[in-house]
């Protein structure tokens, strides 16, 4: 036998061709073409002693461990098996051709000379992706997902979300670091709504701008393997928002809508090696994060232009009703503004309004003050009245009378708004017991 080196084409001839082949000759050829090709063989000339079932002289062709035929005879002969223009194509890259001649070529005592054969072979690209061309030793298709043929070979690829494995054939879901940064979108379990694959370790991360709150809306169907007694023992859909556990879900009851109050959400989907549930799909949207509605701590607090909803970067201003001071702890505030922060909290807590207290009224020399209101105190709007020690002093006011009111500014002011207290001036020339002459 003679191996034919891995060329892309060539020819093989019977011994002595084009002269008659010798008797008692056995020749064979192993045609080998590069991998990724098949062997295509055609006979250009074929002239072998015809015999019933090609018993005497013949050419036998084998490929892929299969016998492709035993051929003999002449073109047009009634006996034998002339290959004609038949194309012999291997499934692999090898083809074996054997030539046999017996001890004689006589017909009724006449020696007849047969010239043998001339065959031409060429390497033909194998479409490995054709399911009909599956390798003999393989059980399934060459590629788990998508097969791409090229001259001399093929390669596999995977559908989106899957990754070609090291065997260059199989695809596995790659969902360990899915990142979503759009303001809204969809995410789902692999193959949804078809059953999800086994052994998943999917991690979907939604990362939006600070101050946005992600809202998750679960679509139907929602189906994750579960157990009636044990909570999510097989497959789990875990949702976290900035490290805060929101929930672990399975079963057929959809979680519905989840307002995460976070701009960072992680969805972890873990599956075991079995199951036939259809998975889940989430439509996520986002909105500016909400802050709690501000609530006054007391009836004297005024929230300016109160809005029905406060979101990130919104703010509100607090004032007090006239006569009340803004207080935070023991500290008096000149103003108060609270801003809604990215985490949905107010950057400072609500102050309270405390009634304005005036200092103790200034003592009046040679006079007194009395509280007009009851109970007597120095709170806003309290009224005092100054009086002089009559009849020895008389009161002199600054134009606003002797009544003073505790003002919103925390000072005692008269009716003219002035803070100077009256004065008690001496009364002259009014003795208690003036001299009186009774005797005339």
């Amino acid at each position: 036998s003679s191996p034919v080196p891995g060329k892309l084409f060539g020819e093989i001839r019977s011994p002595n061709y084009p002269k008659p082949y010798p008797n008692n000759n056995i020749s064979s050829w192993d045609i080998i073409v590069p991998k990724g090709y098949v062997v295509k063989l055609t006979f250009r000339y074929f002239d072998l002693e015809p015999s019933e079932s090609c018993f005497y002289d013949y050419v036998k062709i084998k490929a892929d461990k299969k016998n492709l035929g035993r051929y003999c005879g002449q073109l047009g002969s009634t006996t034998g098996n002339h290959p004609g223009r038949k194309k012999f194509i291997s499934q692999g890259n090898r083809m074996h051709v054997e030539f046999h001649s017996d001890f004689s070529n006589e017909d009724n005592g006449t020696v007849i000379r047969y010239r043998g054969f001339l065959a031409y072979y060429q390497a033909v690209d194998l479409d490995e992706c054709d399911p009909n061309n599956a390798a003999e030793d393989s059980e399934g298709p060459r590629c788990q997902h998508i097969c791409h043929n090229y001259v001399g070979g093929y390669f596999c690829s995977c559908r989106p979300g899957y990754q070609l494995q090291s065997d260059r054939h199989s695809c596995k879901v790659e969902c360990s670091s899915e990142l979503y940064t759009e303001a809204s979108g969809y995410l789902s379990s692999p193959e949804y709504p078809q059953p999800y694959p086994e052994d998943l370790r999917c991690n979907y991360s939604i990362r939006l701008e600070k101050g946005l709150s992600i809202i998750l809306k679960f679509l139907k169907p929602f189906e994750i393997d579960d157990h009636q007694q044990v909570h999510c023992p097989y497959d789990q859909l875990k949702i976290q928002a900035q490290g805060r556990e929101i929930g672990e879900f399975c079963g057929k009851e959809s979680p519905g809508n989840i307002e995460t109050k976070s701009n960072e959400v992680d969805i972890l989907f873990l599956t075991d090696e079995s199951g036939f549930s259809r998975g889940w799909k989430i439509h996520y949207t986002s909105e500016k994060i909400r802050c709690p509605q501000p609530v006054p701590l007391d009836q004297f607090t005024v929230i300016r232009d109160l809005q029905p909803v406060y979101r990130y970067q919104d703010y509100f201003i607090v004032t007090c009703k006239t006569g009340y001071n803004l207080m935070k702890g023991s500290q008096k505030l000149l103003s108060f503004t609270a801003v809604c922060q990215a985490d949905g909290t107010w950057h400072q807590s609500m102050p309270r309004c405390e009634i304005v207290k005036c200092d103790n009224p200034t003592e009046l020399t040679n006079g007194v003050f009395n509280y007009v209101n009851k109970p007597a105190n120095n709170n806003y709007q309290s009224v005092i009245e100054y009086q002089c020690n009559e009849p020895y002093y008389h009161i002199v006011t600054r134009g606003g009378g002797g009544r003073f009111t505790c003002s919103p500014e925390g000072t005692w002011v008269d009716q003219a708004g002035q803070g100077r207290i009256p004065a008690c001036l001496p009364v002259c020339g009014k003795p208690n017991r003036p001299v009186a002459e009774i005797q005339r």
Binding site: T365, N389, P426, C428, G429, K430, P431, N432, V435
Partner: protein
């Protein structure tokens, strides 16, 4: 006071007892001013020029609030902050008491009450208080029958017309050539033994202003030739109201 009566408490609540160069009187103005006679501070021919007013203020004693001298002393002294003497007063001229008026400023205002009350100053547009025969009252702790009184006395005296005063004074001129200026008036009697006397100096001659019902100081006990031997002479407060108010207002 000669020929007078013992004053009840509350009748002359403005009356001050002073002790500077001896007993004198004064009247409370407002709650921290004492109106008195300049010569109680700088007596005539006393050579007191050597002592400053500040020193005199430091040494001056003022008592208020009672009719009994001992009780007054018990009640305590009202220290004097400053002394204002009218610039017309000349302590070297023994025969001229023109400008015999002064103000003592107390260090601390006094608390007014039934026994301590100020006297009013006259209205500068009203000269009727000085008309002949207009009765007034003078109180004081001065000499009575050659003894200093231990109790406040008072006497009521009529104002006397300038002509009568001058005429009487002229008759005494050989004995005592005293100056009777426009800033003085005289009051009293020629024959009736009712008069002020030594120790009453600085006390005030008061009249009741019937219009306002208030007692008004029209004069300051100043000088006289003897006691109850003719008219007594008083500094005419009306002429010094502007000076007084000027000092008090400026200080206030």
């Amino acid at each position: 006071i000669l020929g007078g009566k013992q004053a009840n408490r509350g009748s002359f609540p403005w009356q001050a007892l002073t002790g500077i160069h001896g007993r004198g009187g004064g009247a409370l103005l407002g709650d921290r001013w004492i109106l008195t006679a300049a010569h109680t501070i700088l007596p005539k021919a006393s050579g007191g020029n050597d002592i400053s007013l500040d020193q005199l203020a430091e040494e001056a004693n003022v008592f208020l609030g009672h009719t009994d001298v001992d009780e007054l002393h018990k009640m305590g002294n009202h220290p004097v902050r400053r002394i204002f003497i009218h610039p017309d007063y000349n302590p070297k001229d023994e025969h001229n008491f023109n400008g015999d008026i002064a103000l003592l400023e107390l260090k601390h205002p006094v608390t007014l009450g039934p026994d301590v009350l100020p006297i009013c100053l006259p209205d500068t547009t009203n000269n009727t208080f000085y008309m002949d025969g207009h009765m007034g009252y003078v109180s004081g702790f001065g000499v009575e029958k050659n003894f200093l009184s231990n109790h406040l006395k008072y006497v009521n005296l009529p104002a006397v017309s300038r002509e009568k005063c001058q005429s009487w004074l002229d008759s005494k001129s050989r004995q005592m050539p005293m100056v009777f200026s426009e800033n003085m008036f005289c009051a009293g009697f020629l024959t009736v033994k009712r008069d002020t006397c030594q120790g009453d100096s600085g006390s005030v001659f008061t009249v009741l202003d019937s219009g306002s019902g208030r007692w008004v100081a029209t004069g300051v006990v100043s000088w006289g030739i003897g006691c109850a031997q003719g008219y007594g002479f008083y500094t005419k407060v009306l002429n010094y109201v502007d000076w007084i108010k000027g000092i008090i207002r400026e200080d206030t």
